[in-house]
């Protein structure tokens, strides 16, 4: 007996609105249909109304987890448009925050993976240790989530020796903890039984479907923008691209834990070799008409911003391609012929951030399946009309 089960747009495994229509045969998934477009942000249009500087804080709000990656990706693109070269100390501090953000994002993901597999103890432990990074970020930037440390031509805040020492001290604790998590994640029998061999994505499929980030690296593709097309100071930082050969969720766990260790090394290198000097230079208000594509290795994968300027103090067009969008086609392949129990794990393994990836809304008629695009004002009118027809609930009573 085949039947279709909707996972989402409201579902405890998915905290964000996306719909996965699963065609099941017993417990086995035979077909998957991913439906997007429950979340319209209107962010790209809004960016055209704001100045270059204001847009830094707007792009930061694309995502709550990798906020710094979006704002950095945008900032380095605009700096290229304006021909501004940030001072070296500014660059170092910018990517210090970037690596700290990668640490916090990967620790968060480890916890989520534990929770999706029903291993709540792992979840609680990783999130406890994530607080260490959050505290460092708060100390460095003043905020836990939206750091707002980028500005055109550098960063907004400097760090002193005391803060430097504190960060280096915390790194020791984080390294010990991460080694412990690698031990648990790759050895605890009930956890490994759930993730080993689940959600296979062969190397050929990963290449053909343009998977990015840890998803691609777990399929043994050493693809990392920091290595392939070094931006900032990554050309002078020694680090390795973490890969795994198992091509499954276990590989994605291992890749992320290995990347954590690499990030600790990078942070240590940045702090030990922090150059002296100013942290920012003045940037002009306008950019000459031109266009630029900015690439950035976010914790989830390659993040791309396309920016077009027209000579004013506002961008003519900003296009954001978040890493989650690039991983959707691969997810469909991973989910096929899996079990229902594997859906949350496989889907969480790409570290989906739907609110990053969503751009526009399409209305789909539930009965006929017809799709159409409508204006916001039309949508509002329809909603009001509908609620006029529904009588107010009169028999609602306090149940006791």
């Amino acid at each position: 007996m085949k039947f279709t089960v909707p996972i989402g747009p409201q579902h405890p495994a998915l905290k964000e609105p996306i719909s996965l229509r699963m065609t099941l045969e017993g417990e086995v998934i035979r077909d998957v249909d991913i439906r997007l477009g429950y979340n319209h942000r209107g962010l790209e249009k809004l960016a055209e109304e704001k100045t270059w500087l204001q847009n830094i804080y707007l792009t930061e709000r694309i995502c709550g987890i990798c906020s710094h990656s979006h704002s950095t990706c945008y900032t380095q693109g605009v700096e290229k448009l304006m021909d501004v070269e940030p001072p070296k100390r500014g660059i170092y501090l910018r990517f210090l925050v970037a690596e700290l953000e990668r640490v916090h994002s990967h620790l968060l993901w480890l916890g989520v993976a534990g929770h999706e597999a029903g291993f709540d103890t792992f979840f609680m432990y990783t999130w406890r240790d994530r607080e260490v990074v959050m505290d460092i970020l708060e100390m460095v930037s003043g905020n836990r989530v939206h750091y707002a440390i980028n500005t055109l031509g550098g960063v907004r805040r400097d760090i002193d020796d005391l803060q430097k020492k504190k960060i280096l001290d915390s790194l020791g604790l984080l390294r010990r903890r991460t080694e412990y998590y690698l031990k648990i994640g790759a050895n605890e029998p009930s956890f490994v039984a759930r993730i080993a061999g689940v959600g296979r994505l062969s190397k050929e499929d990963a290449l053909a479907l343009c998977a990015v980030g840890p998803t691609a690296r777990a399929s043994d593709i050493p693809q990392d923008v920091r290595k392939d097309d070094p931006y900032g100071m990554y050309a002078e930082v020694p680090f390795e691209v973490a890969t795994a050969t198992t091509c499954d969720v276990l590989g994605r766990v291992v890749v992320r834990v290995k990347e954590l260790m690499q990030s600790y090394n990078i942070i240590e290198f940045l702090l030990k070799n922090l150059p002296d000097g100013p942290v920012a230079v003045r940037a002009p208000r306008r950019a000459k008409p031109n266009e630029v594509v900015s690439r950035y290795e976010a914790p989830r994968g390659e993040n791309i911003h396309y920016i077009k300027s027209n000579g004013t103090d506002k961008p003519e067009r900003l296009k954001v391609r978040a890493p989650t969008l690039a991983n959707y086609p691969a997810t469909v392949v991973m989910l096929k012929n899996g079990f229902i129990a594997d859906i949350p794990l496989i889907f969480a393994a790409i570290d989906p951030c739907i609110c990053c990836a969503e751009r526009a809304v399409t209305l789909v008629d539930g009965r006929s399946g017809q799709e159409k695009t409508v204006l916001m004002s039309e949508l509002r009118r329809q909603a009001q009309e509908r609620w006029k027809k529904v009588p107010p609930k009169k028999d609602a009573a306090w149940p006791l």
């Binding site: 495994a13 291993f119 009930s190 149940p399 006791l400």
Partner: protein, 323 residues
């Protein structure tokens, strides 16, 4: 006097009042241990050390809106939680917790009561399945199918291991089994494999991690209980708590030598021994992750069932030596 005693037995101890108080206490204990193992605080605010939190949750759920799905089988959907509570409370009645005199057996202690108790403890599984089936949602249906699939895994090993002490004691009566092991406590040691297997099976019966597959929230929302809310959900939660107490009481009776020493001492023994087993259950819950349904069946038939048979063999061989 006898009537008063029976009434006391049914309503006060170990009847409904005691069951409610003690099962909520056990839930609190389980939550606290689980939380401390996860480096959390657990319940802290309601009552001293948050001890009233399960009661507060129960009352809160009673006050919530109670929704019956339109397409559900309404009678079955409404009756099934009550039936579940009745089943597990009856199971509790059969445990020899209070005043059992082997010379004058009371109505609730008879030869073969261990079989009846095991049978009654199987009913909650059926209740979960019927609850899932009658609510007709996809998530519930999948949950219900999982409940029954899992039953084939853990039920046989549980029966085999619980019956092996009975074979050793040469009796099908819980009170007699307990008193046999009180007189020969050393004979409890060969039952250690059976004890471990039965604790794991009890964990599966209670549908707790790693066996919380029928209501795995990240996969099938609430699973069996997706459509339940308000009073009915409160009753289901209470039912699971009571089942935990009754199940651990059964294991304590057959594997840990029962609860000797009259009312007060027996009560203390009951609390200590059941809490010990609940502690083990919390430990398993904190240290493992949820496994898949096919893995449960594999695990039960590859490891639990052979171990249970091994326990049975050990018991039979040893019985020849003891005699």
């Amino acid at each position: 006097m006898a009537t008063l005693k029976t009434l006391l037995y049914i309503f006060v101890y170990p009847g409904l009042v005691f069951l409610f108080v003690y099962s909520t206490f056990c839930e609190w204990f389980d939550r606290k241990v689980y939380a401390r193992l996860q480096n959390r605080m657990g319940p802290t605010h309601t009552g001293r050390w948050g001890i009233l939190q399960p009661v507060a949750d129960f009352i809160k759920l009673l006050a919530k809106e109670d929704i019956v799905p339109e397409r559900a089988d309404k009678t079955l959907f409404t009756l099934i939680p009550v039936f579940g509570i009745a089943a597990v409370a009856t199971a509790m009645m059969l445990l020899p917790v209070w005043h059992y005199d082997l010379a004058q057996p009371s109505a609730n202690s008879f030869s073969g009561d261990i079989i009846v108790l095991l049978y009654i403890l199987t009913l909650p599984t059926l209740v979960f399945f019927l609850a899932a089936w009658s609510s007709t949602s996809y998530f519930s249906t999948i949950g219900g199918a999982r409940v029954l699939t899992m039953l084939f895994g853990y039920e046989v090993p549980l029966f085999l291991t619980v019956l092996s002490p009975a074979i050793m004691a040469g009796s099908w009566r819980l009170a007699e089994i307990a008193s046999f092991f009180q007189h020969k406590p050393l004979l409890l040691l060969p039952n250690i494999i059976g004890f471990i297997v039965s604790v794991i099976c009890l964990q599966a019966k209670l549908e707790r991690t790693p066996f919380d597959i029928p209501h795995a929230e990240t996969e099938i929302v609430g699973g069996t209980f997706t459509e339940y809310s308000g009073k009915k959900l409160a009753l289901f939660r209470l039912m699971t708590d009571i089942e935990m107490v009754a199940g651990s009481g059964l294991i304590a009776t057959v594997f840990l030598g029962g609860f000797p020493g009259g009312v007060i001492l027996g009560f203390i023994y009951f609390v200590i021994k059941t809490l010990f087993i609940i502690f083990l259950l919390s430990l398993i819950r904190a240290l493992t992750s949820r496994i898949r349904i096919d893995q449960v069946i594999n695990f039960s038939w590859k490891y639990l069932a052979p171990l249970a048979v091994l326990q049975l063999l050990i018991t039979i061989v040893l019985k020849g030596f003891v005699r």
